[in-house]
Amino acid sequence: MTRLQKEYTQKQAAYPHKVIVCCGTGCLANGARKIVDAFEKILSERKVKDFSVEAVKETGCHGFCEQGPLVVIEPEGIFYTRVKAKDVPAIVEKSIEGREIIDSLLYADPTNGHKIEHYPDVKFFSHQKRIALRNLGKIAANSIYEYIAVDGYQALAKVLLQMTPDQVIDQISKSELRGRGGGGFPAGKKWRTCRDVKSDVHYVICNGDEGDPGAFMDRSIMEGDPHAVLEGMMIAAFAVGARQGYIYVREEYPLAVIHLQKAISDCREVGLLGANILGTDFTFDVRIARGAGAFVCGESSALMKSVAGEVGEPRAKYVRSVVKGLYDQPTVLNNVETYANVPLIIRHGADWFRKIGSPKNTGTKVFSLVGKVRNTGLIEVEMGTTLREIIFDIGGGIIDGRPFKAVQTGGPSGGCLPSSKLDLPVDFDSLTAVGSMMGSGGMIVMDDKTCMVDVARYFLHFLVAESCGKCTPCREGLYQLHALTEKVCNGEGTEADLEKMEQLSKMVVVGSLCGLGKSGPNPLMSTIQYFRDEYLAHIRDKRCPAGVCRALIKYEVIEDKCTGCVACITACAYNAITGEKKKPHFIHQDKCEKCGACVAVCKHDAILVS
């Protein structure tokens, strides 16, 4: 391996300049592929000093998706955002050959408008601490050599050649690494229990289901650094004595499947998967199991059913899956981010890891920071960073300078926290203490135009559709809760309904079989707890303060402001707006479906929502 690393590094060193093009899903959607093609075309057509086609790297997601496509020029670290294919010739000419910086492609800090030239100076990155995302945006995602060049598989080599399984588990236990999928169960303890079960067959599974709406960190890691996940799994397999592993990837992530498949076959080719890995007697292989669109399959026992090709219904866990998991054999199931942490813990030691984060919540956590925040994207911070630092320092604050209203963490299992909780240090325990949870790390920022009753209704609607239906409290309880929120949103709710919601929520939490039902009422309970006024406004005043609930709002044209530009007439799909050019328009209330298209297109703030 050292030889492979040396050869590859030498080859790379021949060309000191590199162009890094982010090819995460976000940047690809904005045309990153065309940029790569344009670079390759120019470089193959003419000779550029110190530069070759091989130096164009297609990396995984930098996390700064809002500003994509991103291009970084190394070694200077020049950072260009929102690049288009037509910019490529200028970049080659000015920035690579001429060492000049193109001002118009630089990122401007949203808080003060300053242009930033270099990658590490962008606040979005400088406040982060990257462990699980260490290689994202740095190495080409599809090359095993790139991973080996940054000391990849060194941890595996150390484990196989110098350590016993017990020593590996000791290190992981000592690091106090907790499962990053949301539950926060100590990984070392899980591995130890699994190893201690006497059986001929053990399995390791990587949970790449990530059904939480609003979260995409696992997707980015699987797409951008698949080998980190594989290496973590191999170490786990060695520790617990497994010979077969599975990665369960949801069907909405086709690129992740392609990259993982390539990574697995590359590993087989160089002898990192299969029989006698690195010349030792360790034998291990990995198979990909594709999900088929079922949120409940993120739950461990349902996931294992699904891996076996069955309907993904969870089971009651009198016996935990570390003891009786896949095909009733002892199974370690961790999520993508947990595995991605493992190689670094082995390489740098448990003490190094424990110094990061806070006591009982060591290390870092990756969040997908999205919603009404200026810098949306993936971020990784030390445990214990406050919500305020995340949303305002890294996220750059709320879009259009509007007021912050709430942040939703933990997906459908989590809750909404108000501004009074902004100084809360974020970790597993503190979030649970205030009625939310870490979940897989989705963080959705909401401003004053978000209706909290609508948000609760949204999650309940999602969960009603995703409940597997096996147990009654979840199947019927969530359904009734959804119906009650619907009633409130339509202005037909009563205060008795509010009480009913609270009681029923408690019952669903206690009575449900698996995590989906047990945590399902969380968004509702937390919004009632922190935003009771908003529920009461819907109930008593028949008013939606955020202007979202269609039954309670009305759109009108403010005649003084309307310039008669006909933009709203064109946008209205219901022919509810009439008027002549350059004269104030009129909204016919009987035809208006309150979709809000007119507000979205009006450039003159001439539509009043009341």
Partner: protein, 155 residues
């Protein structure tokens, strides 16, 4: 409907012949025919040696599978939380209106289907619409209409 089932052996050949492969076989069949034809389900049950009722229960449990034919162009509107907060419902309205179809339906000429999906993991670009596997981020009102204004639809 008549289907060219001669492609099935090749699909079966891609996976180990056991119950474990059921979901993946169904996914490949769905990709080929744009839905799960009944005859293909019967053949799958036989090939993988699982009961037909189990094949049907799996085919109806997972959202990715459809027992009804889907359109040639599938428009998937993401309604994940981030997209919801940034106005996915409005985008859905616009697309439904432009195509004169509701989510979950396929047009009579078989050209278009609209689906809503809960999160495609591209939250930073919300709201997101996926037209035939191509992701479109930051979709706005006029953009939504443009996305489905495909030439094939003319006349």
């Amino acid at each position: 409907m008549n289907h060219d089932l001669s492609k099935l052996p090749e699909i079966f050949g891609r996976h180990p012949q056991s119950a474990e492969s059921l979901i993946m076989v169904l996914q490949d069949i769905q990709k080929e025919f744009r839905y799960l034809p009944c005859e293909a389900l019967v053949a799958t049950a036989k090939q993988l040696d699982v009961s037909l009722s189990k094949v049907f229960s799996v085919a109806t449990f997972y959202n990715a599978f459809s027992l009804n034919p889907k359109g040639k162009n599938v428009v998937r509107i993401c309604v994940g939380t981030a997209c919801h907060i940034r106005g996915a419902k409005l985008i859905q309205d616009q697309i439904e209106n432009a195509l004169k179809l509701k989510a979950g339906q396929t047009s009579e000429d078989g050209e278009f289907s609209i689906e809503v999906v809960a999160c495609v993991g591209a939250c930073a670009m919300a709201p997101v619409v996926i037209v035939n596997e191509k992701y479109h981020g930051g979709v706005n009102v006029s953009g939504a209409k443009r996305l489905v204004k495909v030439d094939k639809r003319a006349n």
